[in-house]
């Protein structure tokens, strides 16, 4: 970390400075902006951001404007991991040459959507992690290619409608399951990986802090409700994010040098219906299909509890 920031324990510890300002053209109610605002609050001004193509990149930098107050770089859709690796290596080289003081700490952060990380950006991300660059990779996961019109990605969950997993007589939305980026990241042997949720800002921000404090690569995978692609009124972005965790559709977890934990335990889970019913992308689902999704979650919760060695996610509310 480039400056001594107290550990974030309450909302009042969140730094005031804004490094992603307003006036950008992300949709009204786009929770990606909330996530990135917080990310930069935590990282502070000595930060270089590498952004993959996607909503955040396109909508914050309509030429000749920029919403960023930190150095920011965009090259292409598929290579945020490679570009960030290059930036980090360049900083190291400049330090060796004596052009930057050795003790100067500069955060390098790569930001990509689910498309730019799960799919097309995957090899660049995998290479970054495998080579051990000191870069924090942040995925804002809106579970589809939103910027180009809601096409499915490897992060699109089972049953979700997208324009390429339509609802027809034969097709009922996405028929495959979401890829597990958290475990894929851990499998690279990196020190820190986490899942986070903007409805739990203290948890999310402390994960950004932890990720930045590591000497090597870290990955923070953040759920990002998208008003346009998930088909809900803009005001519900945070409500839906919260419901994702309350129903255990999204579990806030952490892997920190070998230790696995669930950072936001849930005593009693809400039925997944509560989460699904607010979103138009699930409006085609029948009761039977909703129960099928509930069963998938029950199974996942069992696995997570086993892995945590105790009941961190409780049973369904009666």
């Amino acid at each position: 970390m480039t400056y001594e920031l107290e550990k974030i324990k309450t909302l009042w510890d969140i730094p005031k400075e804004e490094h992603l300002v307003g006036g950008h053209s992300l949709c009204a109610g786009c929770t990606a902006a909330t996530i990135v605002r917080h990310l930069l609050k935590v990282a502070g001004k000595n930060t270089i951001v590498v952004n993959a193509t996607g909503c955040v990149e396109v909508s914050t930098t309509s030429f000749p404007y920029t919403a960023w107050r930190v150095p920011w770089l965009h090259v292409a859709f598929e290579n945020a991991g490679a570009v960030a690796s290059g930036v980090e290596s360049a900083i190291n080289a400049l330090k060796i040459k004596g052009e930057i003081p050795v003790e100067k700490e500069i955060n390098v952060i790569a930001i990509a959507g689910d498309g730019g990380s799960f799919d097309i950006g995957f090899q660049a991300l995998s290479g970054l992690m495998e080579r051990g660059h000191k870069v924090m990779f942040v995925i804002y996961d809106n579970e589809a290619y939103m910027n180009t019109g809601i096409q499915r990605s490897g992060a699109t969950p089972f049953a979700a409608w997208t324009t390429t997993t339509p609802v027809t007589r034969r097709i009922r939305g996405e028929w495959r399951n979401k890829k597990d980026m958290f475990d894929i990241a851990i499998a690279h042997g990196i020190d820190y990986a986490a899942t986070a949720n903007p409805a739990y800002p203290v948890d999310m921000d402390s994960k950004f802090q932890k990720g930045l404090s590591k000497d090597g690569p870290s990955l923070v995978h953040v759920i990002m409700p998208c008003t346009t692609g998930w088909r809900f009124e803009p005001k519900y972005g945070i409500t839906i994010a919260k419901l994702a965790t309350e129903t255990a559709v999204w579990v806030n977890m952490e892997y920190d040098v070998g230790n696995f934990s669930v950072t936001v335990p849930v005593k009693k889970r809400k039925h997944v219906r509560e989460y699904l019913k607010l979103q138009g992308r699930y409006s085609h689902l029948s009761e039977t299909e909703i129960e099928l999704i509930q069963e998938q979650i029950d199974r996942k919760v069992e696995e997570i509890n086993k892995r945590a060695g105790k009941e961190v996610i409780g049973p369904l509310e009666a």
Partner: protein, 105 residues
């Protein structure tokens, strides 16, 4: 930089040298409804400020005393040039101190 007469004026690599210049862009026309904070009801919990995607909630060290005599050191207000009227603040406010008012009656 904001007035480029020809392609020859484009900076190398599309570089932009005005950090945070989108603040010059007024997005108030995006709004259907405008949030309005009731200073009497607001408990200064910071939640609206935390969640606003457009950094359009202003947190100021400005004292406010309510009619019932309670004094707060902070005041929250809205930056109406950059608020898009999404309604997240009103929806998340724990004491319903923010009302969404239609821009067009």
């Amino acid at each position: 930089m904001k007035e480029l007469k020809s392609w020859k004026d484009y900076p190398l690599g599309g570089a932009v040298y005005d950090p945070g210049s989108t603040l010059d862009i007024d997005v108030s026309g995006w709004r259907n409804e405008r949030p309005q904070i009731d200073q009497e009801k607001c408990i200064r919990c910071r939640i609206c400020w935390v969640f606003c995607p457009d950094a359009a909630i202003i947190e100021e060290e400005k004292t406010y005393t309510t009619k019932t005599g309670k004094t707060f050191k902070l005041t929250y207000s809205i930056d109406y040039a950059h608020c898009k009227g999404c309604g997240i603040c009103a929806n998340e406010c724990p004491v319903k101190a923010i009302k969404m008012i239609p821009e067009v009656e």
